[in-house]
């Protein structure tokens, strides 16, 4: 059975897979609630460090399981196995289901989501990002989702932070549009890419002239507890 590495910011249950063993790895050094470019830079480094040896460790694919796609592009440049970026994939997948998508996210995800929509060239296809409070109850998250649909015109909803499968199912049942949960989708797409022999393009993600795995690992180790 193939092994898929899912890199996350905080411990949670790994998404289920019918074909692979999914191993969850919390990347040390991702700032809590990354809200600014400073935090994103540190998160990029943390995810790169956590996944840079995935191929040598025997993994068949890597999923960057946070919606923010931290470090995903860098991992793609150093790995030949498929690297799935949960946020990027979720937004593009949403467009297979409907013409325009909306995103709901906690405050820390709001600015990042706006940035990624712009970076991926999907501004015209995104109806907007609606934030809910960091400590929001499920009811408050549902309210944000309804605003995204009724006021912004979202035809598909993308969740900007991971939620449990049970909660994703409850949200989907309560809403009139499809709800895309990025982490579980990422695993399915990783399996699909493996089944099809597909991976990221070397033209978009060129290999560095000098790889620096030891330096990257030392930076993370030095930063721990500092």
């Amino acid at each position: 059975m193939s092994r898929i590495l899912m890199i996350v910011a905080a411990d949670r249950a790994a998404p289920l897979s019918g074909e692979a063993e999914v191993e969850l790895r919390v990347a040390p050094g991702i700032p809590a609630a990354p809200i600014s470019a400073h935090d994103w830079t540190l998160a990029d480094l943390a995810v790169l460090a956590a996944g840079q040896n995935a191929e040598a460790e025997g993994f068949s694919a890597v999923c960057v399981g946070e919606f923010g796609d931290f470090g995903a592009n860098a991992l793609r440049s150093v790995l030949d196995i498929p690297v799935v970026a949960a946020g990027r994939s979720a937004m593009l997948y949403a467009l297979t289901l409907g013409a325009q998508f909306g995103i709901i996210a906690p405050p820390a995800g709001y600015t990042r989501a706006k940035k990624l929509v712009q970076e991926y060239g999907l501004t015209a296809q995104c109806t907007g990002v609606r934030a809910y409070a960091e400590t929001a109850t499920e009811g408050a998250i549902l309210t944000a989702a309804k605003v995204a649909i009724e006021e912004d015109g979202a035809e598909v909803l993308v969740l900007g932070e991971p939620v449990s499968p049970d909660m994703a199912a409850r949200l989907a049942a309560a809403l009139p549009v499809p709800v895309v949960e990025p982490a579980s989708l990422a695993v399915m797409l990783a399996e699909s890419f493996l089944g099809l022999g597909l991976g990221q393009s070397r033209r978009t993600y060129p290999v560095p002239q000098a790889r620096k795995p030891e330096l990257i690992a030392k930076l993370i180790a030095a930063g721990e507890g500092a």
Binding site: G18, E19, V84, A85, R88, S89, L92, Y93, L95, T96, L97, G98, A99, Q100, Y120, G121, A124, Q125, I149, E155, V156, A169, A172, P176, V177, P178, V180, E181, S184, L185, M188, L189, E191, S192, L194, G195, L196, G197, L198, G199, Q200, S201, R202, R203, T204, Y205
Partner: protein
């Protein structure tokens, strides 16, 4: 066991249908999923004009209208034109996977810009339509054709020595001259060239038919289907009228 209906866009005999089914061999599928291939009864001769697109939409709609009632869990459209995808989505609640739309969006999961590799220029209008619908024209580096006459029944059989190198040359120009990061085969009828090209190109190349099988599986397992807001239901599906049209076409 999940069951998926693959709608083949031309009427054809059993031998030629086998050439379509051979696409299943290009992908490793998950457990407990089966695919039935069904040719349409209503179809144009080929897909080179807007007349053809209308006939194709009607034919695909007629062929797939009962898929949900027949117990299928998803429908795959075996053409990059996505003919019939939107009307079928408006009447079916099960996922309907169009090879073209899904190939373009998947390409953007793998790289920044894609090119579409076609057999001939007469398919250009098909891609222009989907790119416009998606609003992703800027992500398409180019549509290039190899200037080859396609055959939607016998596919590439017997012409490999001439066609495969010509397709390879056109694909390399997409990459080197147009800046493509990912290549999409412009038709499911080109699937026999996929392995040859994948082994020789420096970028990923998407085989659109097999991709739909995996994405049907993804949609079924994640319990995801198209948005009813994007694809509203008709007041009254014309089930009897479409069936009568299918019967009439089969007699022509």
């Amino acid at each position: 066991m999940a069951r998926v209906l693959v709608i083949v866009p031309f009427p054809m005999d059993a031998d030629n249908l086998e050439k379509r089914k051979a696409q299943l061999g290009a992908v490793k599928l998950g457990p407990d999923i089966a695919f039935d291939f069904k040719p349409v009864r209503i179809a144009p001769v080929n897909y080179v004009s807007q007349q053809d697109s209308v006939l194709a939409d009607v034919g695909m709609l007629e062929a797939g209208l009962q898929a949900e009632a027949d117990g299928y869990d998803a429908v795959c459209i075996d053409t990059v034109s996505d003919s019939g995808m939107a009307p079928l989505r408006s009447v079916l609640n099960i996922p309907v996977i169009g090879a073209g739309r899904h190939a373009m969006l998947t390409a953007l999961m793998l790289g920044d810009r894609f090119s579409i590799l076609a057999m001939w220029d007469r398919w250009r209008h098909l891609y222009a339509k989907t790119l416009a619908e998606l609003g992703l024209g800027a992500k398409c580096a180019s549509v290039r054709s190899a200037g080859l006459q396609p055959n939607n029944q016998s596919l590439l059989a017997g012409k490999e020595d001439e066609f495969f190198p010509a397709l390879h040359e056109a694909a390399m120009r997409c990459i080197e001259e147009d800046g493509a990061d990912v290549i999409i085969l412009g038709s499911t009828t080109m699937h026999e060239a996929h392995a040859y090209l994948a082994a020789r190109l420096p970028v990923p190349i998407i085989n659109p038919g097999p991709l739909t099988y995996r994405l049907a599986e993804t949609a079924i397992r994640l319990k995801l289907s198209h948005s009813r807001v994007t694809f509203p239901s008709p007041a009254a599906p014309a089930t009897a009228r479409l069936a009568a049209m299918g019967d009439a076409a089969a007699r022509v």
